[in-house]
Symmetry: C2
Subunit: 283 residues, 2 copies
């Protein structure tokens, strides 16, 4: 494993690149049309700017972009990958997209003869001194991607074929972020009913682990709510024909969308106060 | 405190009565029109059959019935309570009904001059050797109900006035049973995506407490799903104007309703298999 291409140098992509370049891997990315801040982040991570035709000739091409961009990246690289012939990269879609979308991306890539792997990233970007995220790789032969384990990434094969890693990511994120949505909903309703301090006391006595999770998770969620709303929509798509499940995640989407807007400011203040352990009278 | 009336001798009501009669309290109930099984349960708990006019003259009258019956019980006893004059019982609605409904029940009772308390029961019915449920009592003066503490019940005053105990019950139940609905939704979606074993492994590594909760909670839920569906509807009403929250709990209601019907049999089997730690191939 010598050369890895990473699209794009966002917070996650560049942190992964930094871990790889520290371990002697050459990391290519595309900076065409990108702003100075992105260029600087890519430089700091040791990434090299390259043409799409070069990215398509790396050993692995990792797509790490916002979920809405996953399909666009596949279409952009399908041609260069096909043109690279024998030299073409293995394409790993690492994005938080639902299983159906993941299989559509696989179809676009595989149509040109390129090997496709389904990747999922669970956890925060790599940081010095902290355990990195876990990469799950599904597909006929996850081996070539799992080899990045030798270069500092926590790569794991995931059984179940294309879609299994995406399904893991969706279900795990749905549990975590769905639970935070549930907690926010019940904390806000309890506050309206005058029951907030009673709820806190009951949780402290019988569900201390959940309370601790909410005290940490509710304020952590606030600045990410704008991003979690579309993620909840992906998960609503993931549950597909399960109308009950779709209603749950459409509700979570609306909640996060509301908390991200100005009209959610009072709710945000109430959640922060609950998380800070404020007494009822202060909320 | 000598005489407590309990409407009705269901699983919770009779278990509470048994705890009280063991501790020397006289417990009245109404067996008019009830079947032999209910009569036997009431007898075993030491409850005495009495007319509504007698129940209305107890020291406390506890309404412990299915949520849909709470208002009917209030209408049924409003007259006898008013007629009892100075001797009338304090009325404690202990039912899992949303805050708005609770306040309507309070209005029906208080209209006749009877003192109303808002009660909530959290936990399983009292059993010998196990900690009983927690009773939260809200209202201007919870004292008379909290005195039952001396007779073996875990009574606690709840600040916040009428509606605060109901709000506590709704929000706590919404968290617990909403979390089980979320887990069921994601386990079933992961199973469809071929990601079930990967989800189990990820939870075992990073969320062992949640996994243990799901392994216990999913099979425990199955026989109660028929009852949890209408409870989720109460909670959807409790979140009221919060459309996002309503969508979450309407989804949970539909999920439990589905799992309670024949068409949910395959899903139930998948949840049981996950909870039993079955390998992916067995599910």
């Amino acid at each position: 494993m010598r050369t890895v291409a990473i699209v794009a140098p966002g917070a996650m992509g560049s942190a992964i690149a930094a871990r790889l370049t520290e371990n002697g891997v050459r990391v290519l990315t595309s900076l065409e049309g990108r702003g100075e801040q992105t260029r600087e982040r890519a430089r700091a991570a040791g990434m090299s700017d390259a043409a799409d035709s070069d990215l398509a000739r790396a050993d692995l091409l990792l797509s790490i972009v916002p979920p809405a961009d996953a399909m666009g990246v596949a279409h952009r690289f399908a041609g260069p990958l096909a043109a690279a012939g024998e030299d073409r990269a293995i394409y790993v879609d690492c994005n938080a997209i639902n299983v159906e979308t993941k299989r559509e991306v696989a179809g676009v890539i595989a149509a040109g003869g390129t090997t496709f792997l389904d990747g999922a990233i669970i956890g925060l970007p790599p940081k010095p001194g902290a355990p990195g995220p876990r990469f799950y790789i599904a597909g006929d032969d996850p081996g070539p991607a799992v080899q990045l384990r030798a270069f500092g990434l926590d790569m794991r094969p995931c059984e179940g074929g294309i879609g299994a890693a995406a399904g893991l990511k969706m279900s795990f994120a749905g549990l975590n972020k769905g639970l935070t949505a549930l907690a926010a909903t019940m904390v806000l309703a309890a506050a309206r009913a005058g029951s907030l301090e009673a709820l806190r006391a009951e949780l402290a006595e019988t569900e201390p682990a959940l309370l601790a999770r909410f005290e940490r998770g509710l304020p952590d969620m606030v600045p990410k709510a704008y991003r979690w709303a579309p993620e909840m929509r992906e998960i609503a798509g993931f549950v597909g024909d399960d109308e009950a499940g779709r209603s749950i995640f459409e509700g979570a989407e609306r909640l996060y969308a509301r908390l991200a807007r100005d009209e959610g400011a009072d709710d945000v203040a109430a959640l922060r106060a609950f998380a800070a352990g404020a007494r009822r009278g202060d909320v």
